[in-house]
């Protein structure tokens, strides 16, 4: 199966459909960092060694996809080497959160495996030999961890991992050692942002071994009020403890966001409605939109939907469009390379049409 076939849907499956707490939680991601025994990490490995990793992992993935009685079938996992993918395809993968931007810069000796529902992706020879990632819609940290664990089990049956009894799974960065687990929930926090609470949130979760940062944007800016809450600590706690801890804190953040929305409605209803309808007006009529502006407007629209002010539009509009308005997706839609200003025009057109269809 060609990768383009997997990516043919305008939106990835993790972005659409009903999911727990998806009024605030855009998605849940769990990734496991793994390395193979006796082979240097990708950062210092030779070409030959990178090739060995690719060969071993490709074989393990092929077997894992079929299942062998002892381990469950992983489903339709397809492996691709990075040099077999066009720059556009790589960029599509980045925009769909299936590979990292750094991984998109690689070629021969690096690879990616993808399940055809796009919920499982495995980067081969990124910073570690394997980065197993599971991406689910809404708030599903436990489910995502269990799925990642299953994928890991299936690969573990065929690979010998670099592991130490003392410090666990050995990773290129000491920040990932131990469980190799990084669990994240992607949160839409427009009310907390409006109330100026994000800074306080960042320092509060830091005390709990977690971190909050913007999904898009540079520095402290978080475009579209989209944030990622992740564990910092990967060593000294079990995977279940890490996942449960993240889930507990995330639930509190969700609760805080709901309360902040409530407070906004009670105290600043007119101002809030005015802001939301203005944004709705612009996003449905503008002729040119930058990514940053589009995300800001879509964040307001999404809040309007959640508060019952705007109807007839699917709740997942934000996560759907946050991917579809990005450069490679626009380029694929149009079928040719676009300059930045052309993209702004296409972005506005796409959003207008998307809203027209719905109304």
């Amino acid at each position: 199966m060609a990768l383009d076939e997997i990516l043919k849907h305008p939106v990835a499956q993790w972005m659409v459909g009903d999911a727990p707490a998806n009024d605030i939680v855009v998605g849940t991601r769990v990734r496991l960092a793994r390395n193979l025994h006796e082979i240097p990490f990708p950062g210092v490995a030779t070409r030959t060694q990178l090739g060995q990793v690719v060969d071993q992992v490709r074989e393990a993935i092929t077997h894992a996809a079929q299942g062998d009685g002892r381990t469950p079938r992983l489903g339709r996992l397809h492996f691709f080497t990075m040099d077999a993918l066009s720059p556009l395809t790589k960029q599509l993968l980045v925009e769909r959160h299936l590979i990292s931007p750094q991984h998109a810069q690689t070629g021969a000796g690096h690879g990616v495996a993808l399940r055809d529902d796009e919920r499982v992706s495995i980067m081969v020879n990124e910073e570690d030999h394997l980065r197993i990632q599971v991406l689910l819609p809404g708030f599903q940290p436990q489910e995502a961890w269990e799925m990642a664990n299953q994928v890991d089990d299936a690969l573990d049956a065929r690979l010998v991992y670099a592991f130490s009894d003392a410090v666990g799974y050995l990773t290129a960065w000491p920040t990932n050692v131990g469980t190799g687990l990084r669990a994240s929930v992607m949160l839409h926090l427009p009310a907390l942002a409006r109330a100026g609470q994000i800074r306080a949130l960042i320092s509060a979760v830091a005390q709990l071994g977690l971190t909050v940062r913007g999904i898009y944007g540079e520095g402290t800016e978080a475009w579209g009020n989209l944030f990622q809450l992740s564990n910092q600590v990967s060593l000294g706690r079990s995977e279940e403890e890490i996942t449960t801890h993240l889930a507990t804190v995330a639930r509190q953040v969700i609760q805080q966001e709901r309360q902040a929305r409530e407070a906004l409605l009670n105290r600043q209803r007119i101002e809030l409605e005015d802001a939301i309808y203005r944004s709705f007006g612009i996003v449905t009529h503008a002729r040119s939109l930058s990514t940053k502006e589009a995300l800001r407007l879509l964040s307001d629209v999404r809040l309007g939907i959640d508060l019952g002010l705007i109807s007839g539009i699917p709740e997942t509009i934000l996560q759907e469009l946050m991917v579809r308005i990005r450069p490679a997706h626009l380029q694929r839609l149009v079928g040719r390379e676009l300059s930045a200003s052309e993209r702004d025009l296409q972005r506005a057109t796409l959003i207008r049409e998307r809203f027209k269809v719905q109304r």
Binding site: N35, H37, E38, I39, P40, F41, G43, V44, E127, N149, D152, D153, D156, A157, V160, Y161, A162, F163, S164, D165, A166, V167, G168, Y169, L170, A172, W173, P174, T175, V177, G178, T179, L181, G209, Q232, V233, S234, L235, G236, R237, S238, E239, E241
Partner: protein, 174 residues
């Protein structure tokens, strides 16, 4: 010559040790040499404490690292992948799984700082019995250390001693 520890077996291990210009000799049978090396952690005859000063990271990499170390390899490197401690400090990442043994001592405080812990609790892979592999490595290293000491190759011995200690810490902790 009889072993100076047991006074029973022939002394086959002869070690000359120089501390601050003062020369001391020891003549042991293999069994007692092994015993001493075990009871003292790694190397017999105070070699351990002698080298400890030299290879103390503060001394080696601190401001005074340039003085008094003539003839001693100053750049600590991973024996497997060649990554140096400086590389690690500069890049922030390690080169291979053996770096975790090589830079064990430098890593521990870092891990404590990052994770608030230094011991793994959690999933364990099904294969690659690390303890067995480590013990095998340890055995080889001890043999190399004894050979180096016999050759009076103390610089090499010091490097081996460090690797052995790192391995022992790992094994002891597990």
């Amino acid at each position: 010559m009889l072993c100076e520890d047991c006074h029973e077996r022939e002394a086959t291990v002869h070690i000359t040790h120089v501390v601050n210009g003062e020369r001391s000799e020891a003549h042991l049978c293999e069994r007692c040499a092994q015993k001493r090396s075990e009871s003292e952690g790694v190397a017999p005859f105070g070699l351990q404490s002698f080298l400890k000063g030299l290879f103390d990271p503060e001394t080696l990499f601190g401001p005074g690292a340039s003085g008094g170390l003539a003839g001693v390899e100053r750049v600590e490197r991973c024996q497997r992948c060649g990554l140096s401690l400086d590389d690690f400090r500069r890049l922030g990442h390690l080169g291979c799984s053996h770096c975790y043994q090589q830079f064990h001592r430098q890593l521990l405080p870092a891990l404590q700082r990052i994770h608030g812990a230094t011991r793994h609790r959690g999933k364990v892979p099904s294969r690659g019995n690390e303890t067995v592999l480590l013990r095998r490595d340890l055995k080889q290293l001890r043999e190399q250390l004894n050979a180096a000491i016999q050759r009076e190759a103390y610089e090499e011995a010091a490097v081996l001693r460090d690797r052995i200690r790192a391995l022992e810490e790992q094994l002891g902790a597990s």
